[in-house]
């Protein structure tokens, strides 16, 4: 039992990541509102940012800025750089998504998935 608790506590960052990931994914699947879907998508993506950043940390490591002390331990800066790129990608995705939602609103007058579906099927008959 203690071992299990230790394992959960020692890898708490992964638990947070998985929790966020599932929350985002659930919102994405369960909500019919397109804006809420995008919120879910953003949370989903952000959980991956946390995954990368938390694995770049080294116990006792300092910020990766060169010190005079030759024995200094640095955190791994590479995941941060990667995630900087991924954040930009995430922003681009969200903004393209929001732009589409704006145009969907203009075209259909609603951002609810089921109403859009209803409008389309009614038009077909």
């Amino acid at each position: 039992m203690n071992l299990l608790v230790d394992q959960v506590v020692s890898s708490y960052n992964y638990w947070i990541v998985i929790f966020l990931m599932m929350v985002g994914f659930y919102i994405l699947i369960s909500r019919g509102n397109l804006i809420k879907k995008l919120v879910g998508l953003s949370i989903f993506q952000t959980s991956v940012f946390m995954l990368y950043i938390s694995m770049g940390r080294i116990t006792g490591g300092t910020a990766p800025i060169l010190l005079d002390d030759p024995g200094a331990v640095y955190s791994n800066p590479l995941p941060h750089v990667l995630i900087l790129t991924a954040i930009v990608v995430g922003i681009a995705t969200t903004s393209v998504g929001l732009a589409l939602v704006v145009r969907i609103k203009e075209a259909y007058g609603t951002v609810e998935e089921d109403e859009i579906h209803r409008i389309e099927t009614e038009k077909g008959h």
């Binding site: 998508l41 989903f44 991956v48 694995m55 075209a107």
Partner: protein
């Protein structure tokens, strides 16, 4: 100059895109797009010649040597993918002008070409790079611009199709980043050659297996493998014709390439097939995809949607070849990757010609077009025969190898399914042919003339390639075989 070719073909379209956006002039933007895609074609043909003559090329971006910097690595596999993508782009770009003028609002045309160039740069980047995180970045560049391109369709359903593609595509891309992150955590490298070296030592850990699962599902979403294909039919149906022709011929093919590269070069055939049993999953999904999607295609009344479902089925053929886990099967996959791009590109371009003249691609609206637009519909027949797999077309070559691969394994039922679904392809192609040639033109003497030359020339150029590589197949088969051998033996 020539030593920078591996990066230049990506950089040229990438840098031209903002100019399209800035000039705000349709014609200038179009010229830039044509220039960008022709230069990419020139460079990729050059690269292919170099690779075939003197082996793989490695290019260190920014002068940082691999594995520390980003490496661009061109070998016998991705040189072909680069040629494929840039060939289709070089055909679609000249074609786009007339087609896009008819289908896209004038003020959005420069933006269209900007997105087109970005999408091209992204697809070329995915194929050229030897760095896994770079793959993700280019994947998002190509996908985001593809969403924008699809949303430019005339019908408002293009918007919902693009949104759905955005959601599913982003989930796929995020799964891929998770996989890449787990691999990085285990190996400490992002360079593909480095990863290929380090993964076997730690292949037996759960993290690597989970990473494989995330990557595979991400690629399945991107390449529209049944049942993760739901974004595709609407996206292809409602996008502007030129966009459908371009994306159908390139985007899913590049995703198939990513799957091959990751599962065979990085993880190795032994791990993918013996440990993860990728072949069994793929065999099942591919057979269901081929059969069910061909069946669905038969009942479509919108010809664009018909061909979109047919695309999902055809992707099934590529995946079927991979599921044989043999050199012959993989040869079939690579051949069909190339060949399907040629035929679907051509067929969707034909539909663009039809939409240009009659404004619809409904099967009933196409009645009697065989007489009104003889050259256009002849191109459809030729492309359709290639899709069915009639001898003297490229479709025959890839199906031949697919059946060879199945028989090599002793899987008679699978070979039977390939034949039966080819007949189903004949049925859905025939429905269009029947409407165009054996029904009367419904609207009396209304003037519907042949499509203009600027649309017909690129369409027929692709049809010509369909027949050329169908008759003169030695070269593509040889290249696909050596590429397949390289992929299968990368580790063992």
């Amino acid at each position: 100059m020539a030593e920078h070719f591996p990066i230049l073909q990506v950089v040229v379209p990438l840098l031209l895109a903002p100019f399209c956006f800035l000039v705000r002039h349709g014609k200038v933007a179009w010229t830039l797009a044509v220039f960008g895609s022709l230069s990419a074609l020139f460079i990729s043909l050059n690269l292919l010649a170099t690779v075939l003559a003197s082996g793989p090329l490695s290019y260190a971006v920014g002068g940082w040597p691999p594995p520390f910097g980003i490496e661009y690595r061109i070998d016998a596999v991705n040189a072909w993918v680069l040629v494929l993508v840039s060939t289709v782009a070089a055909m679609v770009a000249p074609y786009a002008q007339a087609s896009v003028e008819r289908e896209v609002e004038a003020r959005r045309i420069p933006l269209f070409y900007a997105a087109f160039l970005l999408c091209l740069a992204g697809l070329l980047g995915i194929a050229a790079t030897g760095d896994v995180f770079n793959v993700f970045v280019f994947l998002e560049i190509s996908s985001l611009s593809a969403y924008a391109l699809i949303s430019l369709g005339q019908d408002r359903r293009a918007l919902t199709a693009a949104f759905r593609y955005l959601v599913m595509g982003s989930i796929g891309a995020t799964f891929i980043v998770i996989g890449i992150g787990l691999l990085y955590a285990m190996t400490g490298t992002l360079n593909m050659a480095d990863l290929a070296e380090r993964i076997p030592e730690i292949a037996d850990t759960r993290t690597v297996k989970v990473a494989y699962g995330f990557l595979a599902v991400g690629f399945f979403l991107k390449l529209a493998l049944f049942p993760l294909h739901l974004w595709l039919p609407n996206a292809y149906t409602f996008a502007p014709s030129a966009v459908t022709a371009f994306l159908a011929a390139t985007a899913t093919k590049v995703a198939v390439y990513m799957l091959l590269r990751f599962s065979l070069t990085l993880f190795g055939a032994a791990f993918s097939f013996d440990v993860m049993r990728l072949d069994r999953i793929l065999l099942l999904l591919a057979v269901v995809a081929i059969f069910s999607m061909s069946l669905v295609a038969i009942f479509q009344v919108n010809v664009k949607r018909l061909l979109a479902y047919s695309s999902v089925a055809q992707i099934g053929y590529m995946i079927l070849g991979l599921s044989f886990a043999s050199v012959t099967g993989l040869t079939a996959t690579l051949l069909h990757l190339f060949n399907h791009a040629l035929m679907k590109g051509a067929l969707f371009m034909v539909l663009g010609c039809v939409a240009y003249r009659i404004g619809s691609v409904h099967i009933d609206a196409m009645a009697g077009l065989g007489k009104r637009m003889p050259l256009t519909m002849a191109a459809f027949v030729a492309g359709g025969l290639s899709l069915v797999g009639v001898p003297l077309t490229v479709g025959f070559i890839s199906k031949w190898y697919l059946i060879l691969g199945a028989l090599e394994k002793g899987w008679w039922p699978v070979a039977g399914i390939v034949l039966v679904t080819s007949v189903m392809a004949l049925v859905y192609v025939w429905r269009v042919v029947e409407s165009a040639y054996f029904r009367e033109f419904p609207r009396g003497d209304e003037k519907v003339a042949e499509a203009p030359f600027v649309l017909l020339a690129p369409t027929w150029a692709l049809i010509f390639l369909n027949v050329y590589f169908g008759i003169n197949a030695g070269r593509t088969i040889g290249a696909a075989e050596s590429a397949a051998r390289m992929l299968m033996e990368a580790v063992s």
